[in-house]
Structures are given as structure tokens and as C-alpha cells.
Symmetry: C2
Subunit: 329 residues, 2 copies
DNA sequence: CTGTTAGCGCATTCAT
DNA sequence: ATGAATGCGCTAACAG
């Protein structure tokens, strides 16, 4: 049978529903005896108060909830994004529901559920796009959606110019004289990586090579660097689509006697926390700003259903030169 | 006046509430004309559907929500904890509401609200304790609370033995011959830091010194290290209560010509992501396990109100020796 | 101390 | 295509 209500409890305990309510809410105006009976009935039936009914009856104030779907585990990039979102939403008295999704399928399941249950007032989609169909669903339900780190046709989005990022990667290496550049890519399943690759290819010196890896962590960077040294020994510049990759690559290179940056230059991407301390040259993504904009926008769209036309935003990238680049030789 | 309901909209648009409901839910069985009128009324009145009422009427399934209060901004420690919690809750079909709190006052405000609004079914408290009074409030409302990284008298908690951590810090330095040890502490307002300090004091060689800093970031570590070099030049071991502090301290020491670890040994605390790549000797906290246990426990307590007596858990610490410690000289 | 009653705001028949 | 009526599960007066 379906979930028991206070009526079921009341009947079973031989009391009125008000008494059950009192017990639930810890009122002291209940005799220990009846309280016990009610408790027992609740335990036996596995009673769980219905949250929606509670809030409705109590006249609790509105509190919007926005859920953010993010592939959280992948990189520290999302840590910074998350912090920013959290801050904005908190100040807007909006609940921040964090949904960690592993892959697209996972995300789809959650999106279906959100639509079916209408269980939030806004959605922030990180590094993930929407199908047109699903966009229409959200649209008719008037649940605003914004995308972050993603170039969406359907919803307002904030991102950086990843193609430009790819170009900056190669150009910075070239500036210091690198001729044989390797690009370490995360899976091409991710659009942002494909975009960076495209930009890189546009400007890289002809002998460049591209290497793809599943994960974008330190271990992968270290492993791919081995591969690079073997198949592309003349390499004098390594560009990575994530900072951890660069850390791993640098480690391997140095272990193999290559000086960084005198023999090989290395660059990361993101400028995650601690990269300054590590001296990694990298391309800074304005992570806080990305999160802030997404959160601000969703809050605005929630309170102003007709908040004007979708307004996208492209934030600037910045090359941060530190110790892993410099003139070769 | 209070928030407009569909009755207000219906009245203003000269239609029945059912029609308003249809418009809200994107039903196509509404003439464009009336739809327009309803839309306009909604816009003019700033209508926002009441989420609780919606779910109640729609008979939506229960979905528990647990909110985690965490001082998110402070360190990457919480990133790992957060990941673990997120994973467990997601698998338990439980919403994960993240509440970033800056300080105790902030936390108190949020806790008051949670109690007043009964807006969640469980609470995970990170690095923060409960007053007895507030514990009683949660208790009578039957909202379970668990604490993480905190030694609470009132609620089940999971943590490491921070005193032992303090001892390990000093003992590891001593093992390699360090006689003049400095401890860099975060604010003594945090219990965990006080505990580590206590442990450290128990076993440190007599000439030790303790330094306190507000923040536990790289910059603070670098700054305090300057101070240490000035006021405690004979220092040959620096123990920190957080990894970033140690990174900063190492940087300063090396800039001042002190070799690490030959002249001065340095240790961090936590073993955050990337510390392996950085070669920092540190004391590993089982961050994932902490988060997993907290989430598992809260899920269990929600589904089993009488889940037996509070069961605390103390997880083991592990010294991870890397490149910043080793025999002096 | 306890039971009765009346909504909370909305989705949903069932009429029309 | 639209309106009236009913009930979701609970809290909060109001009676007793």
C-alpha cells in the first residue's frame, strides 16, 4: 500500500489526527501514554511525514530550489564553480541542490526526473547540453535552465572561448621558440576539448601531435607523457587541457631528464587552486565568474519569468606565465 | 499582500482556476486567447507556483533532503568530503542541499531556519558542533543530525583522532632528527586545531614554538614562515595543520635559502588532491570515508528513526612521507 | 490533554 | 475549451 498518513497512524493508535500531529512536532501537550501509543503506531507503519503537505499547511514561505548538474568528480574546476554558485544562491535565499552526474546518461535520467516531478525552480547545467526536446519540456514548464562551460543553442550560457584557449596554448609555447608541440587532450566526447583542439590545430607549428586520454588527472598526464617521449621524442612543448595533466606530464618529463622549461615547456589549463604555488604556466579560466554569472542569471530568470531574451556571455581567458614556460635552450 | 495564488490569477484573468493550472503546466487544451490573458495576469501579479502545493496535489513521491552545512570555502578537504556525500545521497535518492557557511553565526542562522521551517529530513554538520539546546530541538522534531570532523557530545559523529594527528606531526619530524619544531596552526576557534595543538605539545621537543594564523591557505603559510624564520631561526621542522600552509611555508623557506628537507623538514595535514604530485609529506585524512560514513549514517537514521544508539566512528590517520621530510643535514 | 474542523495552493476528475 | 468540485497530507485554531 502507499505511504501511511497521519490518518492511518491516528486510527491505529486510536487517537485523533491532531494528536499525531502534536507528537510529530514535539508538542509537550500530549500525555506520555498517548505519545507512546502514537510513536509505536508510527514505528510499526514506518510513518514519514509528507514534507510538501507540511509546508503547505504551515504556510511556510517560498524557497526556490535550483539544482546544479555537474560532473563533480572530474576536476577541481567544479570546486571553484560550486563555491561561487553556492555563495550567490545562499544570498538569494535559494536552496542549492547539488546533483553529481557521471555521464550524459546519468544526466538524462536526472533531467527526466526533474521534469516529471517539477522538483525545482531552476537548473544549472555544467559542461552539458540539452536536447531540443528536453529544452521544450523545461520551457513549457517555465523552468529556466542555464548552461555553464557549454555552448548551448537553447539556453543562456556562460563560457570561455575554448577555441581561443587552444590557440593561446600553442601561441604561448611558440612565443618561447617551441616548434614541436604536443597537445594532451581529454576525451573528445567533451565539446570543450574538441574546441580547444580545433584552436590549437589552427596555429600550431606543422609538426604538432595530439594525444587523447580518458581522464584528465595527474596519473594520465604522467602516462601520456611517457607515450609522447617515446613516439615524439623531439617534443619541446606540451600543452594540456587541464592543470593536473600538466603536473603529471612535467613530472614524467623531469624524471626522464628533460628540463622544464629549458628543454620542454609545459602548459596547463584552468589555473586551479594551488597552481600558483606549483609554478605552473597555465591559462586561467574565470571559474568564480562563471559560477557567479550562472547563479545570478538563474535567480533572475526565476524571479522574472520574462527576463528578456537569452543573453549569453563569453568570459575572457588569461595566460598566466609561471615557471614551466620560458625561452628554450 | 501575500503571494498570489492561482485564485488571484483566475479572478484577474476572468477564468477558472483549472484553466490557470493548465496554463502553468503547459497543457495545449487552452485557447491562445485565454492563455494570453492568463499569462498576462501571472506576469502582472508576479505569480510563482507554490511548490509544496504542487507536489501535494500531484501526489509526488517523497524525496528526502539532507542539508550539509560546510565551511566550503576554506579548504579542499571539503571538496573530497562533498564528493563522497554527493555520491551516497544520490544513490539513496536523496536530495543533497549544500549550505555554505562562513562562520558559526552563519551556521546558527541556518540551523534556526532549518528548525523553524522543518525544511529537511536530515542534517550533516561539518566541522561544527551543536548546542545542547539546538540538539534538543532537532531531537524533538525527529530530524537526525550527524557531525563530521567534529567531536560532538550530542550527535553521532565521524572524525579522526586529531590529538593523535598532532602527535604524529611532531613524532615524524623527530624521527628525522628535528629538534626545533614550529607548528603552524589555524585559528584556535576551531576545535580540531586546538586538538592537534594539544597532541603536538605532548610530544614535541622542548624548544618548540606554535604560530597561529587566521586562514589556512598558501599565502598565510608563506607569511607565517617569514615570521618563523625571524623569531625562531633555529627551526628545523615545520608542522602545519593543513596542506596549503605547508606549501606556502616550503616556498618561503626555500626562497630564504633553507633546503627542504635537509635544513628544515615540512609537513602538511589532510593529503589533499595533488599533494602527491607536489611531493609534500603529510598526514592523510580519509576524506572520502568521512563523507561516506556521514551520508550513510544520515540516510539510515532517516529511514530508521530508531536506528539504535548513536554510534560514533574514529577513522585512522596515516603519515604519508614524501619529499619534504627526510634526515636532516 | 485531546478531538473536530477548516483551510493551505494546486492538479484533477467530471461536468458543460 | 473551460469551470466547479474534490482531495492531496498536514497544521492550526477552536472546542471540549
Amino acid at each position: 500500500m502507499s505511504a501511511p498518513t497521519i490518518y492511518d497512524i491516528a486510527a491505529r493508535a486510536g487517537v485523533g489526527i491532531a494528536t499525531v500531529s502534536r507528537v510529530i512536532n514535539g508538542s509537550r501537550r500530549v500525555s506520555d501514554k498517548t505519545r507512546g501509543a502514537v510513536q509505536q503506531a508510527m514505528d510499526e507503519l514506518g510513518f514519514r511525514p509528507n514534507h510538501a503537505a507540511r509546508r503547505l499547511a504551515a504556510g511556510a514561505p517560498h524557497r526556490s530550489r535550483v539544482v546544479a548538474l555537474m560532473p563533480f568528480f572530474t576536476t577541481a574546476f567544479y570546486f571553484s564553480v560550486c563555491k561561487a554558485i553556492s555563495k550567490v544562491l545562499s544570498e538569494a535565499d535559494t536552496d542549492f541542490v547539488l546533483l553529481d552526474v557521471h555521464d550524459q546518461k546519468d544526466a538524462d535520467r536526472q533531467l527526466d526526473r526533474l521534469i516529471a516531478e517539477r522538483s525545482c525552480e531552476g537548473v544549472i547545467l555544467c559542461s552539458m547540453d540539452l536536447t531540443e526536446e528536453r529544452h521544450d519540456q523545461f520551457s513549457t514548464l517555465k523552468i529556466p535552465v542555464v548552461a555553464l562551460d557549454c555552448n548551448s543553442k537553447f539556453v543562456p550560457h556562460v563560457r570561455v572561448d575554448n577555441e581561443e584557449g587552444g590557440r593561446l596554448l600553442s601561441q604561448t609555447l611558440s612565443t618561447h621558440g617551441s616548434q614541436h608541440q604536443a597537445l594532451i587532450l581529454g576525451t573528445r566526447g567533451a565539446l570543450v576539448f574538441r574546441e580547444r583542439e580545433a584552436g590549437f590545430r589552427q596555429v600550431a607549428p606543422p609538426s604538432f601531435r595530439v594525444f587523447e586520454t580518458e581522464n584528465v588527472d595527474v596519473a594520465s598526464g604522467a602516462r601520456i607523457a611517457e607515450e609522447i617521449l617515446e613516439s615524439f621524442p623531439e617534443v619541446d612543448g606540451v600543452a594540456c587541457v587541464g592543470d593536473p595533466l600538466a603536473i603529471g606530464a612535467t613530472k614524467t618529463l623531469r624524471e626522464h631528464g628533460r628540463r622544464v622549461p629549458q628543454d620542454v615547456q609545459v602548459m596547463g589549463f584552468d589555473d586551479q587552486p594551488l597552481m600558483a604555488a606549483l609554478g605552473l604556466t597555465t591559462i586561467r579560466q574565470p571559474m568564480e565568474e562563471l559560477g557567479t554569472w550562472a547563479a545570478d542569471t538563474i535567480v533572475r530568470l526565476i524571479s522574472t519569468p520574462n527576463g528578456g531574451p537569452p543573453q549569453d556571455l563569453i568570459l575572457p581567458l588569461e595566460v598566466i606565465e609561471r615557471d614551466t614556460t620560458g625561452r628554450l635552450g
